[in-house]
């Protein structure tokens, strides 16, 4: 997991460092943001000192109404060793007691020109994304008709070659060989490429090729939600493959169950076309059209009819 320092916020949000500049290398260890309100009244028992603190208009105007000694006392107690920073919104003026306490304790005091709610939501989004559960997987991620398909399988099974064919057919490459996946919210997996190998594809015998320069900017994407996993494996005569598509397999990535299909690979089988169709079929299923289920009901009706017909025949005899 990546570490986040107060320094990173400065670059991202263009905060003014008003005081405590020596502390900008403090680490932020959680995405929650604290709005100290009750603490300003002097109640610090449950003060979440490890969180980023945010003072808005209400808090600051209350703080200004306190006596000078009270202000100094609250400021000092807010600036703990672990506090990664105190943010003031709306570009408000900051009482000197707070500035002094931050300088003494080396807690960065940051000022943003934006409204409190705006600052909270942007900070939360940024921190949530940074602290999102993360993993890297061996596979190729391609955007096929808007469906993020993660192609997996043993080395040398033909993932990259299939991806090349898919790109040639107008689909978009997200990542080859190594896909970085982070979980946003509780049900969204976002895949992207490690920066070093973005837009690159490795084809045995050709080496590394740059898909963007070869096929144009429309052939790549920098990230994509993963909706479907296709697992390629060498054809095993003894294994039973799905013949109907009635059962739905899933695969767990981080905490999310993603629908999965296993495709056996055999020379002469055009995988790109099959995967393309699999993606289209997946979209169709999401729109409520399920060919396998429809066929199954049709078959049931047919069998039922035959049964009644047979019944009549017997009666005639």
């Amino acid at each position: 997991m990546t570490k986040v320092y107060t320094q990173d916020l400065l670059e991202q949000f263009k905060f003014d460092v008003v005081a405590g500049a020596n502390g900008v290398n403090r680490e932020i260890i959680m995405s929650d943001i604290s709005r100290p309100g009750i603490e300003l009244t002097g109640y610090f028992r449950y003060y979440p000192s490890k969180r980023l603190q945010l003072l808005g208009k209400t808090e600051l105007s209350y703080y200004k109404d306190l006596t000078s000694e009270q202000r100094a006392d609250r400021a000092k107690r807010m600036c703990t060793e672990k506090t990664p920073g105190i943010v003031i919104s709306r570009g408000m003026d900051i009482p000197e007691e707070l500035v002094k306490a931050c300088d003494e304790a080396d807690v960065p005091l940051l000022r943003s020109p934006y409204k409190t709610t705006r600052v909270v939501s942007r900070l939360t989004n940024f921190l949530e994304a940074k602290f999102a559960p993360f993993t890297a997987m061996h596979g190729v991620l391609v955007d096929i008709y808007g469906v993020g398909v993660l192609i997996m399988g043993q080395s040398g099974v033909g993932k990259s070659e299939t991806a090349l064919e898919l790109v040639k057919r107008g689909h978009r490459l997200v990542a080859d060989d190594s896909v970085e996946i982070r979980q946003e919210d509780y049900d969204r997996l976002i895949g992207s490429s490690p920066p070093l190998i973005e837009h690159l594809l490795e084809i045995r015998g050709l080496g590394i090729i740059n898909v963007m320069t070869l096929f144009g900017a429309g052939s790549v994407r920098s990230y994509k939600k993963i909706s479907y996993v296709i697992n390629l494996e060498s054809w095993d005569e003894k294994k039973q493959y799905d013949r109907l598509g009635l059962e739905e397999e899933t695969m767990k990535i981080i905490d999310v169950e993603v629908p999965k299909a296993t495709l056996p690979v055999r020379p002469g089988r055009n995988l790109a076309v099959i995967i393309e169709v699999a993606a289209m079929n997946f979209r169709l299923k999401q729109m409520g059209v399920n060919a396998a289920e429809e066929f199954s009901t049709r078959l049931t009706t047919m069998i039922d009819e035959e049964k009644t017909n047979l019944g009549i025949d017997y009666n005639l005899e």
Binding site: A136, H138, S155, G156, D176, D177, S178, S193, P194
Partner: protein, 87 residues
């Protein structure tokens, strides 16, 4: 499953050519071989994965192998690392 730690001593780190050697060596074995560095794990049989880590000189890496020929695989990979990359 077996694992072993190595330190990269080569000046260029795990650059393209040594990465190729490593990947080709790992590819000779049945076992699943992984390289762990900086909290990330990649398949050692995948060249892009290995290079995407950008492992520099002085870095400590861990190789894990899991499979029927894990002993030979670890030996083979270790020999390649010692010869070209580090100790």
């Amino acid at each position: 499953m077996k694992e072993q730690k190595f330190t990269i001593t080569d000046d260029t780190g795990i650059h393209a050519r040594p990465a190729t050697l490593l990947v080709n060596k790992a590819g000779q074995f049945e076992s699943h071989v992984e390289l762990h560095y900086n909290g990330k794990a990649v398949n050692l049989k995948s060249i892009m994965g290995v290079m995407s880590l950008g492992v520099p000189k002085g870095a400590e890496i861990t190789i894990t192998v899991d499979g029927s020929d894990e002993e030979q695989a670890l030996e083979g990979v270790a020999a390649t690392i010692r010869e070209h990359l580090g100790e």
